[in-house]
Amino acid sequence: MNGAKVNPAAWSAIAVLLLLVGMPVAVSSVTAIAYQETSSIEFPENGPPAATLYDIAMTKTGIYDPQVDAWCNDGSYDVATGTKEGYNFGEDCPSSVSPIPYLVDGEAYVTTATCAFYGDFTHYDWKCGDSDLAWNYYGLSWGEDMVNQSVTSFEVRMTGSNLTTEPCDDETLFANVSGVYTLSFSKGPIVELAPPPFPKYRAIAETTTTVQVGTFEIYSGLPYEYVGGVQYCIPYFALVIEVDPYSAEDVAAIVASTDFAAGEEVWWTLELDDLEVREQSVSYSSWPGVMPWDSTEVYYGHAMRVGLADQVEATSAMSWFAGAFGIVLMAVGLASTPYWDPVTDWLRRGLRA
């Protein structure tokens, strides 16, 4: 005990190293090992994935400006005076939509750091922020649109190639993605989609931007979180497609999620009944005569993400590690105080008693 008393600062330094270096490294390592042992996403050859299917409504906000090919980030436009403040289309507004998936009590949700359009007929603004804004703007909900267009099911067919699927490694996941993605609807045209050059996304904070008729964006993300003892690692692809709402055959948007093996093609059919909109989807339509751009172009968008949760079960190794590390921390913590002796004396007396 005297040794500990002599130099509690040394023990404190050890505690600092344990907390700052040892703990993060060890936790990440033991978790990665557990992932290798227990992760499970299984895709049946033809059919819905066996893994838990999460359905998420993702609000996608903003109005696409076809003239400048950009979503506007922020600013305002005064129709009466024709002045713009706070932004410059096409320059200051290169991107606005950033879907951020997150998990609450095992349920996956998506929030967005986006821009909102609101205002009246004389003045309107763009505001960026999270999705807590009041979405009571013009528009139809996803469900209504789908029902109105008599689309009862749709099929997402995705073919991935040259995919890196290192689990839970946000540096390598989706590093190289190519392939042709086909989206088809049971009542509607088949839309052939070719992916753009796919950047190396790092994590969920990546910002993705514009979507327009006939094109799409791929979102990728990597929620990495424990929920209920399970570490969810959800690599996903998200397809968002916007179409002309006045085109009866087209449907708004789909964001689908999967985890591909290289060269593997997976597909599944999603019934609308399986999709529960948890948040209000938002759609938009321009106001003829008010919009500063081509008022004949009407854009709206929905996004829905259907995610598969790959998961890591807590293993006994993790529990053993946690216990051992906790005991070491306690010992080192108690040693890092000049009051070590009183504590141990108290313990000693207690043990004698």
Binding site: L20, A314, G326, L329
Partner: protein, 97 residues
Amino acid sequence: MLDVVLVQLIAVLLGVSVVQAGAKAGALQGGFKRTLAGAGATYTSGTALSGFSSTESFIRASLDGDLSIGGYLFVLGLLVVAFVWLINLFETRAVIR
């Protein structure tokens, strides 16, 4: 919630300890430097614990009982370290003695 509080508390204590260690060694003369060093160390520590590792999630899983008794021991160890350092801070004006 406790997991976040615990991580942030430890980060703050680590930040304070860095400043005190620097001051003891003769560095960080002046309030500005100490404030800057403390803030930087706290931010770095918090980011390291919560941003670049699974530590926070791991703590949460432990608190939820998913790692059984080992998880509780883990959290207890963290609490002991934080508690001892807080006692040090209030009794001797230094996190690390």
